[in-house]
């Protein structure tokens, strides 16, 4: 299969025939997905479609029962654990914003900042001027520069989402997995988040999982629809939302 091989080597992320089941329930069945370098992709699907499980597989939290998961055309992600995958350059933002509540906003970014993650290096770490500059830059992008020394636990829900996006930026990953970034946000915040993500997508590959159709439209990227653990449709949003099967799944006809 030469075409498949070509798809693999030119891809950033390559999933083929991935299946996983929990206690007999098949959360993912034969999922295949290819993300090109620099691409931004939106993934939608009803509850239980396997979106979060897919992210768990990519980030090493869950091991697939079968199938191929390759990163950068050559690294087999199914053999690595979370920390190794994160250090390869795959960053993840969770659905529920998870920041370190008892650290300041600045420290949250510092912890995420790309650096050697060994015990010795962190024990004797000294923040260099370049690192500080990068932290300031990110705080500016996520509009939290004035709040830098506040505890992250005191932020509003929307601000926490941004802080988490800021932490992703600090990690400087090759691929960002963003789970429902607009959940629980006001309309204004949703629009700003879309702008922020588009900015990030200029020099990173991004996978966005979202429920909010308005938000997806705002992003204006290729959409993959998941249903019962497999790809149901793929293409531009207008084309996908005209697809009868998609309408059926979403509206439950």
């Amino acid at each position: 299969m030469i075409p498949a091989h070509a798809a693999l080597t030119s891809s950033l992320l390559y999933l083929d025939g991935v299946s996983v089941s929990f206690d007999g329930f098949k959360a993912i069945r034969g999922l295949s997905l290819v993300i090109a370098p620099g691409e931004m992709r939106a993934i939608i699907g009803p509850n239980g479609a396997g979106k979060t499980t897919m992210m768990d597989i990519i980030t090493g939290k869950t091991r697939p029962d079968e199938g191929t998961v390759m990163f950068g055309g050559s690294v087999d992600l199914t053999r690595l654990d979370e920390a190794a995958i994160a250090n390869l350059g795959i960053g993840r933002k969770f659905q529920k914003p998870t920041v370190f509540d008892f650290h300041t906003i600045e420290d949250n970014i510092l912890l995420a900042l790309k650096s050697q993650r060994t015990v010795a290096r962190t024990l004797f770490w000294k923040t260099a001027a370049v690192d500080q500059k990068r932290i300031d830059e990110i705080l500016g992008i996520i509009k939290l520069g004035d709040a830098r020394s506040r505890l992250a636990g005191s932020l509003s829900h929307g601000q926490k989402q941004w802080l988490e996006i800021g932490m992703l930026l600090a990690q400087d990953p090759k691929l960002l997995l963003v789970d429902e970034p607009a959940a629980g946000m006001t309309d204004g915040e949703t629009v700003e988040t879309a702008v922020l993500l588009k900015e990030i997508a200029r020099d990173h590959s991004v996978i966005v999982v979202e429920h909010d159709m308005g938000f997806i439209r705002e992003l204006g990227v290729k959409v993959t629809v998941l249903h019962e653990g497999a790809v149901l449709a793929e293409g531009p949003l207008d084309q996908v939302s005209a697809n009868e099967r998609v309408v059926e799944v979403y509206l439950g006809r």
Binding site: T59, V119, W125
Partner: protein, 380 residues
């Protein structure tokens, strides 16, 4: 680099604590050795040794706070590391007795002669040397913590399950050390010590030196713990406590960080145990009792976990209370008092003495400037 590491995060509270310890290390031995007994400022030797014991507990409490307060690992077996450090010191002290034992055997400690042993077991070799024994004080608890942590943290055992297996660890050691054929004196443990580094352990001057040494080690332990929690590693460790899987997704190998603090903490507990033994004059298997480890948790909770200074404070306060309670007519009620204290602190002072005091202080400071602004200046 080391100096910066040790002093980078010292705040007012830490400096006060250090100042107090330095003052204790100098003044108490001075008041004991040089002031006449008739002086009101004279510190009796028994009081000094008692406070030396409290300070050993304070070091143990700081070591527990490092893993529990900062890394969220609730160890219910820290007494095991304390006791192992104590046994290493006890073995050195036993070898120093030489032929002055009841049976007069120049090599074998009395209990071995009593058991009809003819040779020193291999694991007693080297303990006649002070440097070797001191190395073992660090190495034995450290190694046990490393091996135990290696398996526990890699298998991602957390929370209550981890607490239970640490408890099982110390209980297993308790049972093992009770056995005579383990070669650690069984039920009676190690006692009847004579010399430490050639000085009589009972002598007043030796006791004063041991007290001062305990202060010095407490200072060192505090500085190391402070340095760790104020470094970036400390931030990672707090991140692990608050959101473990998030930290993992940032690329930190959570198990290695836990293993590091757990091992350092165990070494620190070992040192505390080693200082404790010559001051109380005995080490026996009851030091492994699970209740001891649980009591340590109470000290830290009472003082305020995640503060280091609070842990030390809690250890001293609770043990002072214990001394007062268990020596008078209230003696039968001590355990009830301890239990009530733990319930009270958990319900009403979840941040412990130090955390509660800090909140009160911050609140007052915030109110004062606000009040000053609200009140218009009196018209002249």
């Amino acid at each position: 680099m080391i100096t910066r590491f040790l002093i980078q995060g010292l705040d007012k509270r830490g400096l006060t604590f250090l100042g107090l310890l330095v003052a204790l290390a100098v003044l108490v031995p001075f008041a004991n050795l040089l002031l006449p007994e008739s002086s009101v400022l004279h510190v009796p030797t028994s009081t000094m040794s008692l406070w030396g014991k409290y300070l050993c507990y304070a070091l143990l409490a700081i070591s527990l706070d490092l893993v529990w307060g900062y890394c969220g690992i609730l160890s219910l077996g820290h007494g095991a590391f304390f006791a192992l450090g104590g046994y290493a010191m006890g073995m050195y002290l036993m070898r120093q007795i030489g032929s002055r034992g009841v049976y007069g055997n120049p090599i074998l400690p009395d209990f071995m002669v009593f058991l009809n042993w003819h040779e020193l077991p291999w694991y007693w070799y080297g303990f006649s040397s002070f440097p070797v024994a001191m190395l073992m004080v660090l190495l034995v608890p450290g190694l046990l913590a490393f091996i135990f942590g290696w398996f526990a943290f890699r298998s991602r055992v957390t929370g209550v399950y981890l607490s239970i297996i640490t408890q099982a660890l110390t209980y297993a050691l308790l049972l093992a050390f009770f056995r005579n054929d383990m070669g650690f004196g069984g039920n009676n443990g190690l006692t009847d010590f004579k010399d430490i580094l050639g000085f009589n352990v009972q002598a007043q001057a030796t006791r004063a030196a041991l007290f001062a040494m305990t202060c010095v080690m407490l200072i060192a332990g505090f500085l190391i713990a402070r340095g760790i929690v104020d470094s970036k590693l400390g931030k990672v460790v707090i991140a692990i406590r608050d959101a473990e899987s998030r930290t993992r997704f940032l690329g930190y190998r959570v198990d290695r960080f836990k293993l590091f603090v757990f091992t350092v903490s165990a070494c620190m507990a070992g040192v505390a145990g080693a200082l404790y033994v010559p001051q109380v004059g005995i080490i026996n298997p009851s030091e492994f009792a699970p209740a001891n480890s649980i009591e340590t948790v109470i000290w830290v909770a009472v003082g305020g976990r995640g503060t280091l200074v609070g842990a030390a404070l809690g250890a001293v306060v609770v043990n002072y209370a214990k001394t007062v309670f268990t020596s008078g007519f209230m003696a039968p009620y001590w355990l009830f008092a301890l239990g009530a204290l733990f319930v009270f602190v958990t319900l009403f002072m979840p941040k412990g003495i130090l955390g509660t005091a800090q909140d009160w202080w911050d609140g007052r400071r915030r109110r004062e400037p606000a009040a000053a602004l609200a009140e218009p200046a009196p018209a002249e």
